[in-house]
């Protein structure tokens, strides 16, 4: 049965031609940024070896650039930036708390496990 008391659309589901122009401009700008970041990553990744002295710096800049890319996708393409503050937090806070904790605890543990393997192998 079709229920007519549930209407399935959000506020701001429409915008004018004028507003459309500004939005499209922003989309293309973000596209250029994402493409430039990916190109930069590939150039750095193929030119600088993992044995290089600069590798630590490169590795962390890759991770930082990835988070920048992810932020643009989520905030602009997925329009999370335009949602209400409460919704933003509901979606983002689980990662800031649990995933960062999970990464920290598991990678730390992994190094310990790796050490034990190295000891028992020798």
């Amino acid at each position: 049965m079709l229920r007519d008391d549930i209407v399935e659309y959000s506020l701001e589901g429409h915008h004018s031609e004028e507003a459309g122009k500004t939005i499209r401009k922003k989309i293309w700008k973000v596209t250029a940024i994402l493409t430039a970041i990916t190109a930069l990553e590939v150039i750095l990744g193929s030119q600088i070896k993992q044995t290089s002295d600069y590798w630590e710096v490169i590795k962390w800049s890759f991770i930082a650039l990835t988070i920048v890319k992810a932020a643009y996708i989520v905030l602009v393409f997925m329009h999370l930036g335009e949602e209400r503050k409460a919704l933003k937090y509901v979606i983002l806070i689980p990662y800031f708390i649990f995933i960062i904790y999970l990464i920290f605890i598991l990678l730390w543990e992994a190094l310990a496990v790796g050490d034990i393997w190295a000891v028992s192998a020798s």
Binding site: E8, T31, F77, M78, L106, W117
Partner: protein, 341 residues
């Protein structure tokens, strides 16, 4: 800016309970909640990958060494292919957001145009991934080698072409003195892995023994990945010595000295888990892309049929768009953690 608490909420947007949590529609909120849980799944997979990788440290394969082939052009292009795949997915994400934007202006033609572009991008990505998988499974010409001292090494260089096999002892299929010119590489790798090559003679599937005519390998460099009696992880061996060491393994007649390509039990790139993570993470992501393409096609049919235009809004396009961007988002992380670092 969508919905502030102070804003008068249009009665039509209220849910069944006459409320509108977060000033957003029911469908959109539930899509977000699904994406939150799906993102946690992918986070779990990637963190598990990180855990295993940090266990192994040095012997774990390096992206730029493992993925450096292009269709037609061959080897020596580190990361270019995955970069291309990433670019395709980003572009299809852009066309999707343009479809959503056209929907907000009730521009049906614009929505159709951009959604078709998105679907094409999705197919290109899935196709690229199929090629990548096929290449990963079949592996390189050299494979991974266990050297005489017990160390394991990946091999880089120029593989000398196989010319033919001349049968010296007849088997079930081949007669004596027959010259075989077909399917040489497959037979050669199969025999090398099984230890059926000795003194430049190969024992074929049917039991016949043939003499191998092959150009010599050039510029061979061995990257040691696991410690042996003489070489340690991280060592590099090159020059005539490396060529001889590789030849010794090929010609030893011992099974298991060479591994080509990848399956769930072993792979030529690194530890067993590397292959399993590759198949599972990129496979799970590829399945998301595939289902995203299917959902996009279903929504596109609805757009073409005028269903959403009649409804007065294109929110269904927005919801499938959310899923599609999420797929792109996951790939951004897979690209970094599987291929770059």
């Amino acid at each position: 800016m969508a919905g502030h608490a102070s804003k008068q909420i249009d009665a039509k947007t209220l849910w069944g309970g006459k409320m509108s949590p977060f000033s957003t529609s029911y469908g959109k909120l539930m899509m977000w909640f699904f994406l939150v849980s799906d993102a946690l799944t992918f986070s779990g997979l990637l963190v598990a990958y990180g855990f295993t990788r940090h266990d192994y440290l040095g012997s774990w394969p390096i992206g730029e060494e493992t993925f450096q082939s292009l269709p037609v052009l061959g080897h020596g292009y580190p990361l270019i292919y995955v970069a291309l795949m990433t670019f395709i997915l980003i572009v299809s994400s852009v066309t999707m957001v343009l479809a959503v934007e056209a929907g907000h202006r009730m521009d049906k033609k614009g929505v159709i145009k951009w959604m078709i572009a998105t679907i094409i991008g999705g197919f290109f990505f899935v196709g690229s991934q199929a090629w990548e998988w096929s290449h990963f499974i079949h592996g390189s010409e050299f494979g991974k080698v266990e050297l005489a001292d017990g160390s394991l090494a990946t091999v880089h260089g120029e593989f000398g072409e196989l010319e033919n096999f001349t049968v010296v002892t007849a088997g079930d299929h081949h007669k004596k003195n027959e010259v075989i010119t077909e399917d040489l590489m497959h037979e050669y790798q199969h025999a090398a892995a099984a230890g059926h090559i000795e003194d430049d003679k190969i024992t074929l599937h049917d039991g016949s023994v043939a003499k191998i005519a092959k150009h010599p390998n050039k510029d061979v460099e061995l990257y040691i990945k696991e410690n042996g009696g003489k070489y340690q992880m991280g060592d590099r061996v090159s020059g005539p010595e490396a060529i001889a060491m590789y030849e010794e393994a090929i010609n030893s007649g011992e099974a298991g000295r060479l591994i080509y390509g990848a399956n769930l039990e072993e792979n030529e790139y690194g530890p067993q888990q590397y292959g399993q993570f590759f198949f599972f993470i990129t496979g799970f992501h590829g399945f998301h892309v595939f289902s995203g393409v299917v959902i996009n096609i279903i929504i596109l049919l609805g757009v073409i049929g005028g269903l959403y235009h009649k409804r007065g809004h294109y929110e269904m396009v927005e919801k499938t768009g959310l899923y599609w961007h999420f797929v792109d988002l996951v790939w951004v992380f897979v690209f970094t953690f599987f291929y770059l670092v």
